[in-house]
């Protein structure tokens, strides 16, 4: 088996520079026809850039690109554009869906290649589009309702539409950029099934991810990237998560949950084990069951409205005690965002009470909450957590700016103290590069998140709201942030953790709640919880059971 015979994609020595940033510096990738290939690496390793080069969105500065044509012969396609890529059968499903919500599924699919009835007016032939999409949907097993509006779809369905869109355009090579970030476990399982079927039909799949359990369960081959370079190419069957993690980071890392193969649960099912250094010890779990006289954070029958729902959060009550992590699991969009924002003071509480150390903060300002000891790692660092064009130093005082002002009529900011604070935080939280004058925009996702974590956890606080604290950050930063959270718990802080990543919830929480439809579907101690137990509650099935 020589590579040239079976290769579907061969990228050699790709360089791509954006301003001062070398995103790809000698990256290479070889994918065989009919395999599922995982492309892994830390954030900023250059995975997405390399795939955008392949799909024609970026032109590489140098390097050679080859993709197999219909008859399997590799063709030099260096420097092609997106139209070339689509024509050659390379389709990309982006992390952020590129669908138009006000159009139907069929309309979205034919966008750019509209079917018309002919004639001078070139009227759209919607009926034929719906029919074609239906046929394709049946053939591929990607179940969708072709005439439904995209805005009415669930996230999992929207992703199916994205994949269908690529296939509709004739994709034989499908690139998926972190496809499971927004899916619930059953939806993930369904996606894997679809991908396996595609593999059986001889289609080639490249999967960008940094979840190692996904790599182990679905891929045939793994390419690891680090700092814009390709570090290694491994056969999944011959490697371990630990080895891949080591390749990604360049040293040994402690994984959030040690992976083990669950022999009884059928083939290729990976679960988070309850053993290992990273998982809560018996003492930590029991913390959640002890009754504390003084809850640090208490919610009483809180109802919150959002733009879409009058009751995005419905009558939610809970407490978080000092030294406890309460984890909220659930598929995104079930009220977690609204709940956190309401506690943080960014969203109006329609009814109910929020207490911080027994003080009613239901209607307090964001600043007053901060001064009362509330810290908040927001779920979207690009939207809320950082002012991307501000320097690292300025971002490290965001929300605390009143503490860095000299007061008086002019109220100028104390540059010396801001610089001193930046130096201290950059060292303590290992933010790289360590130049406080760099704009936050210039940093990798992991280091950007470290700025947020440093700001919120590097000061005196009582309660921490940690929403998706490790979303889109690399393995090294995940490990670091998890360690910070555990340290804060040990120091007696109360932490409310929201994460779409179940393994994170399971690895950190003392008690776990599942949010579904704006309510807590269930609250349980960590030792009662597992992915299998929580899964049904996340899809709303748990209540019927």
């Amino acid at each position: 088996m020589t590579p040239s015979e079976t290769a579907a994609i061969r990228l050699t020595d790709i360089y791509k520079q954006f301003g001062p940033v070398l995103a790809n510096r000698g990256a290479s990738l070889q994918v065989a026809r009919g395999e599922i290939h995982a492309l892994v690496g830390e954030n900023g390793a250059g995975k997405s850039t390399l795939m955008r080069v392949l799909s024609g969105m970026y032109t590489p500065d140098s390097g050679r690109m080859e993709v197999a044509d219909g008859s399997g012969v590799l063709r030099d396609i260096t420097g092609w554009n997106t139209a070339d890529a689509i024509r050659a059968g390379v389709g990309m499903v982006h992390q952020h869906f590129m669908l138009i919500p006000t159009l139907s599924v069929a309309e979205n699919l034919m966008l750019g290649a509209e079917l018309t009835k002919g004639g001078p007016l070139r009227m759209l032939d919607r009926a034929r589009a719906v029919e074609e999409v239906g046929t394709l949907s049946e053939r591929t097993g990607l179940r969708v309702n072709a005439s439904q509006l995209v805005s009415q779809l669930s996230v999992g369905e929207a992703q199916r539409v994205e994949i269908l869109k690529a296939l509709y355009r004739g994709a034989r090579i499908l690139i998926l950029d972190e496809p499971t970030a927004v899916l619930s476990p059953p939806e993930v399982a369904e996606l894997w099934q679809v991908l396996r079927q595609m593999r059986e039909r001889g289609e080639t799949i490249v999967l960008i991810t940094h979840k190692l359990d996904e790599v182990m369960s679905i891929s045939d081959t793994v390419t690891v990237m680090r700092h814009g370079r390709t570090i290694s190419r491994l056969r999944t069957a011959d490697t371990t998560p630990q080895e891949i993690a080591r390749e990604m980071v360049g040293r040994d890392v402690m994984l959030a949950g040690e992976l083990r193969r669950d022999a009884t649960a059928g083939e290729e099912s990976w679960a988070v084990a309850s053993s290992g250094e990273a998982t809560p010890t018996a003492a930590q779990v029991s913390l959640g069951e002890r009754t504390f006289p003084l809850p640090a954070l208490e919610l009483r029958e809180v109802t919150v409205a959002s733009a879409r729902h009058a009751e995005a959060v419905r009558d939610v009550s809970f407490i978080v005690s000092p030294g406890e992590i309460l984890g909220i699991a659930g598929v995104e969009g079930n009220g977690q965002t609204e709940l956190i924002e309401a506690i943080a003071g960014l969203r109006h509480v329609r009814s109910g009470t929020v207490l911080l150390d027994h003080h009613d903060i239901t209607n307090a300002s964001v600043r007053a909450r901060g001064d009362a000891g509330l810290s908040h790692i927001p779920e979207d660092r690009h939207l809320r957590g950082l002012v991307l064009d501000y320097t690292i130093a300025d971002n490290l005082i965001l929300g605390q700016q009143h503490r860095f002002a000299r007061g008086g009529f002019f109220n100028s900011l104390d540059g010396e103290r801001i610089a001193e604070n930046a130096r201290r935080q950059i060292t303590a939280f290992d933010i790289r590069p360590n130049d406080p004058a760099l704009p936050a925009r210039a940093l990798s996702g992991g280091n950007q998140q470290k700025i947020v974590v440093a700001r919120e956890m590097g000061r005196d606080f009582r309660v921490l709201l940690a929403a998706q604290p490790t979303r889109g950050v690399d393995v090294g930063a995940i490990e670091f942030i998890h360690a910070q959270l555990r340290e804060a718990r040990a120091a007696g802080k109360a932490i409310l953790l929201v994460s779409a990543d179940l393994s994170e919830i399971l690895a950190l929480s003392d008690r776990i709640a599942v949010m579904y439809g704006g309510r807590f579907a269930v609250v349980m101690a960590r030792r009662e919880a597992s992915e299998e137990v929580l899964g049904p509650y996340m899809t709303g099935a748990g209540r019927a059971a």
Binding site: I231, E247, L398, G399, S412, A437
Partner: protein
Amino acid sequence: MTTTSPDLARGADGATAPPRRTARSTASLQLREAVLPSLVALLVAAIVGDVLIVVFGQSPGAVYRLLLEGTWGNSYGFGQVLYKATTLTFTGLSIAFALRAGLFNIGAESQLAAGGFAAALVGLALPAGLPWIVMLPVYLAAAAAGGGIVGGVAGELKSRFGAHEVITTIMLNFIVLALLSYLTSAHLKVPETLHTSEIHSGALPRLADFIAAFHGSAANVDIVIAAFACGATWWYLFRTRRGFELRAVGLQPEAAEYGGVRPGRVWTRAMTISGAIAGLGGLNFVLGYKHYYEEGFAGGAGFLGIAVALVGGMHPLGVALAALLFATISQGGLAVNALVPKQFVEVLQAVVIIAVAVSVPEVRRLLRTQRRTD
């Protein structure tokens, strides 16, 4: 099968710390980034200007020489450039300030007029013969209040009702200018004219009073106030807590809100200050030049201020330079009238604006309808 480059081991990338930048060099970097693209845009405009001049059958060299001689080449012309640049600095600064808060203030024209009108009202009420240096704070307060109220209304409408400031400031232009016109013509004007009677106290000295060569030009000490306003605006934006919060709202309102800032309050405050700055520009005409309020004295300076703010990269120093540039082009138009039609300079101004709109990244970001989140 596994190839690991040892030089990429963790720690290697952090070992070489980049040179630490001081706050001072960061500020100069900001300025360089703000001004450089504008210079490129100017070059483009000059080339387009060359082509136009050739089309008119003239030699570019001769036209530009005449333009420079009529502006920077003699002290009268230079004085006129300074006079025009003074008003433009205030309106440009006003718009740049609002832009920093993410607001497009199209109302500088009426804010400028309201500031001048308020100053004139105060001047008419005051007894004659008071020394200008004593009266100046009163006039400053009046002009700032006049413009600030007009701007503040737009800000408050946005923060309270979500009314878009572009719409409200445009509408306020009509309302305020019509109101001032009514007040002037019905109650205050000298018969047969469009202006109020003369103010007899607090007129600002002309530059010609100090340097004889400026004789005949309208340039006056208001230019010192303009320079001071640039400094104060820079300091407010980049050195105070309120400036920190204002720029955060302009860049990412959601992040500012997260940081304990109430965007609504910042909008009201920013539009009030922006209007006040524009209002101060009214002193240049009313106290520095004619010593009365005249209908239409703003003469489009409020709108040209938009171009000044964008060309100046929304930086106070850049605004001052851009004001000088547009004042030069405007005054130069009179000088080259013999060779090319006077519309030539208007075309040239427009080319500068378009060139800046496509070349300055900040302006491009601003003019884009949809903002990318990633």
